[in-house]
Amino acid sequence: MSEKTGSAAAQVVPALFYDDPNAALDWLEQAFGFETCLRVTGDDGVIQHAEMEYGNGRIMLGGTGWSDFPTSPKSLDGKNTQCIHVQVKDVMAHYERAKAVGATIAAEPEDQFYGDRIYRVFDPEGHFWTFGQTMRVLSNADMEKASPGLKVEGKG
């Protein structure tokens, strides 16, 4: 899309594997508010490749089994090797929306020592997501004070 090649385009784009990409696409729209911007569907009606946007972020999604490595967390006893984090404008509203669609909440929204409110959630195939909103902007010193034993460096 215009945003795909423009200067404001997301340069890091995570891609997720789903056993049922068609169901995943609908669910990510309804529960998390992602918007489909590209969908490629084969003769059999199965999505081969799709891209979705959220704000200035973008994800790709596709099926499993097209090579040795792509598999769904469903086939790994729910284990994940990474997590997608999304920063949202209103984390409580996002949480309520996801919950209303039947998302499996792994951790209720909670204020963190670094100033953000975060909740954790699994999608229907067990991909692990976190959504957060910055409630308080804290200095590194404030964070260190709030969580003794940690050294905080850099600009968060």
Partner: protein, 156 residues
């Protein structure tokens, strides 16, 4: 089921205006040259004849009735939906695709979701596929529409 590709873009105008730009201003945003025009050397004008039963045509000489007909308009709902048939110059009898466009108001204007489907009516060796496999071909076709929609967005 049907092989299809969907692309989307947001225009910062109301749905009625987005529909008007898409239809009335088609010759403005429909890119020129051999990649986009049906008979590029004839330097024609693209036009949607308004209403169901109207046509999408590329007009070369209106007085003489010289034109290329891409297909009939199947659904004409200003501000909501537009569906039209699509045949390329090298399509045979029974080879027809369909373009289905939905206009949906969102926070920033109008989300245009464009689905081009019916590609299963073209055999695997059809010249329109440029020798590509299904996924590569559909992705290319999605890119073709993306370029068009970016030009449309520039008008809004």
């Amino acid at each position: 089921m049907s092989a299809s590709v969907t692309v989307a873009i947001t225009l910062e105008v109301e749905p009625e205006e987005a529909f008007r730009l898409f239809t009335e201003e088609v010759d403005q945003w429909w890119q020129r040259g051999p990649k986009f025009r049906f008979r590029p050397k004839l330097n024609g004008t693209m036009r949607f004849e308004p209403g169901e039963g109207g046509r999408l045509v590329e007009i070369y000489d209106e007085a003489k009735g010289e034109l290329y007909e891409a297909g009939r308009i199947l659904v004409w709902e200003p501000g909501r939906r537009l569906v039209f048939e699509w045949r390329g110059p090298n399509y045979r009898e029974g080879q027809v695709t369909e373009v289905d466009i939905r206009f949906k108001a969102n926070d920033t204007g109008t989300r245009i979701l464009l689905e081009h489907r019916g590609w299963e009516t073209l055999p695997p060796d059809h010249p329109a596929r440029h020798g590509l496999d299904s996924r590569a071909f559909l992705t290319m076709q999605g890119g073709w529409w993306e370029e068009q929609l970016v030009a449309l967005k520039a008008l809004a």
